[in-house]
Symmetry: C2
Subunit: 401 residues, 2 copies
């Protein structure tokens, strides 16, 4: 039984992996309807002006602004209405002096007109209209190309597609776009004692939790979990499973919390590739192992569900997002006051799951085997390596789940 | 052309809809693998203890604690190793005085033992082991049921399923669960001038943006968008489309920004059901219309893309989440300083899209027709009805997109 040799701190561990991560390079063409959350693999230039024509921003009358300059409530100017243009239609003539065209919001401004008088400031009388207020040139007109100019680069390669960027792509008429494919992450649970939910437990056996929590975190961060099931804790089976996993872009194993089974896994990984680190200075989650095999990251998480899930947030998530070319996740944080004192382990950065009651923060951590310490938590706080006490009443920052 | 009759403020408008919302009641049975983000439709009690047996929390030797009380570095106690139990296995005998069993992390504690001595504090010599430290009863043992007790309610009806709750369901062996079905939201774009992306634009026509942004917001908030396409702006076609839309749980229309086409839609909705409100005091997004038809919410959003999208966040999102039985969305907020002065419209609550540069906040709002004012924004700030100025250097709260 080998002890952990080099315990890295979390930042150093992450740096060590991050510099070896290879973001996906393969792309795929998808329909705009499927684009939400994907990462653009092309610079997008607009083939058109948006709006593609100058249009009315209000219901009213398209006019030559200069014809209205002298208009007032007492002395309205009187224009001849020579046509009508509805949204979606077009009026083909040209407006001359003291003429105007009735126009709906969104309809193209007729030739000769340069402003729209709002209907509220007019009074229609047969084929004439009284205008009670002057309007300046460009008034109530959305000029062609004010939103997007033809040839303008509107989105750049690597952008994460949000509702508003999907809107911009629709605005320029894109039906399909090229995005990076989603990374596939093989998920493997190891251990002789692990059974699939739905199966009967025999004495000494427990249900597989980690492949479910890991797959959930993968889904939430732009990846496709490839569930490879449960593998027995021996070198041959582990190697076989990891080989299969390497058809994906990343492999995440969990289990084997004992030093013995860690050694087993370490041996297998060492034989197959390069160990990046083994053991990190965090609590919970110390026995995390990272390797590089065929240029792919292989992460072996602790078997304990809480450790496994907190390391999924702290280690798997940033790595996967880098592989997927997504920006780092943005954590929801709030400041709150500790409801009781907490004494952490010195020398390891502690991620303490907490619940919020009446605006105060209480630890819910039971033990690293306890999944309920996660499911009952509203979030976690981070206690630095050098703190020996978090005092009741102290203000802490809670990262919300 | 009717003017807007009653302009409600946003809170009043939301209240008016919220009290009429009917959350989905139909449920479906799904596999645990598909449960992320869904809403539980059952109280879940555990059929088992978790862990289902008392187990070793460390690699070492399962002992009777009292046999170790006198152990020290100088005077180790010596125990007879009468067996070995691996994780997933079981050791069927019983430990008597001064006996122990070699045990792996996660393996069941043998009968007679009540503690585990860590391997680090022992030295093996043949079938004997020296123990250099005393251990207390229960030391390094995870007791049966410490995490979850059989019969304990672990999740309640209405819970949103996060990675940790999926983990808890796996822990108790659930393969399938009952959840509320996702609400379906019919999305309709209206207008003679609207074309589908990918089609050719004729003069006076523009591309459909809103059904894409609305569908994205629906997907992000637990709904299934049902894209009913583009409908011409006349009463017959609108009624037909809304009827079709009512097969879903909610209907969202967009378009018809002109007072004329709003009237058209208002007439149709009035005939089909009850108008909840028409027009709200927000900028952008004033001409929003809400109705109740066959007990289903029908929302008519402004046609302008920015107004439509900001109202999707402000109105559609909370309503949809209520229909889906999801908790209100949690906004990412940061505090930052205005980089320039902004003069809002008095009397309407303003949602100003902003970008962040060098930690300062700059308005990016161009006009409500401009989708780029959304896609270039990092978030928005809310300016109350009674503010006539936001000063440069003033601290504001930015809701991040």
């Amino acid at each position: 039984m080998k002890p952990f040799t080099e315990l890295l701190n979390l930042d150093a561990a992450l740096r060590k992996i991050m510099e070896r991560v290879r973001p996906v390079i393969e792309t795929e063409r998808i329909r705009l309807e499927e684009a939400l959350g994907r990462v653009l693999a092309e610079d997008v230039e607009s083939p058109i002006d948006v709006p593609p024509f100058s249009r009315a921003a209000m219901d009213g009358y398209a006019v030559r602004a200069e014809d209205t300059y002298k208009a007032s409530r007492e002395n309205p100017c009187i224009l001849k209405v020579i046509g009508k243009v509805e949204t979606g239609g077009i009026w083909k003539g040209k407006i001359e002096e003291d003429e105007c065209v009735e126009i709906s919001t969104g309809a193209p401004i007729p030739m000769g007109a340069d402003a729209v008088v709002m209907v509220e400031y007019t009074k229609r009388e047969g084929d004439k209209v009284k205008v009670f207020r002057p309007i300046y040139p460009g008034g109530n007109v959305s000029e062609r190309g004010t939103d997007i100019k033809r040839g303008e680069k509107i989105l750049t390669i690597g952008s994460e597609l949000k509702p508003s960027s999907i809107g911009v792509l629709a605005a320029i008429g894109r039906k399909e776009i090229i995005v990076y494919r989603k990374p596939r992450v093989a998920v493997i649970s190891t251990g002789y004692e692990i059974r699939r939910p739905g199966e009967e437990l025999r004495p000494g056996e427990i249900y597989d939790i980690n492949s479910y929590t890991l797959s959930s975190v993968i889904e939430l961060n732009g990846g496709i979990p490839i569930r490879l099931g449960i593998v027995e804790d021996n070198e041959e089976r582990l190697e076989e499973a990891i080989r299969r996993g390497l058809e994906a872009d990343m492999v995440v194993l969990s289990g084997g919390s004992s030093v013995g089974s860690r050694d087993l896994l370490r041996n297998v990984l060492e034989r197959m590739g390069e160990i990046l680190f083994h053991g990190i200075q965090v609590k919970p989650g110390k026995p995390t192992l990272a390797a590089l095999i065929e240029n792919k990251i292989v992460l072996a998480m602790p078997g304990y569900p809480t450790s496994c899930l907190s390391n999924a947030y702290l280690i798997l998530r940033p790595i996967l997002r880098r592989v997927a070319r997504l920006p780092p996740s943005r954590d929801l944080k709030i400041k709150a006051v500790m409801g009781e004192r907490y004494v952490p382990s010195l020398g390891r950065r502690t991620f303490l799951t907490v619940s919020l009651r009446d605006g105060k923060v209480y630890p819910v951590f039971k033990e690293s085997g306890a999944i309920t310490s996660m499911s009952r938590a509203d979030g976690f706080i981070v206690i630095p390596e050098n703190r020996d006490l978090v005092e009741e009443g102290e203000t802490v920052e809670v990262y919300l789940f």
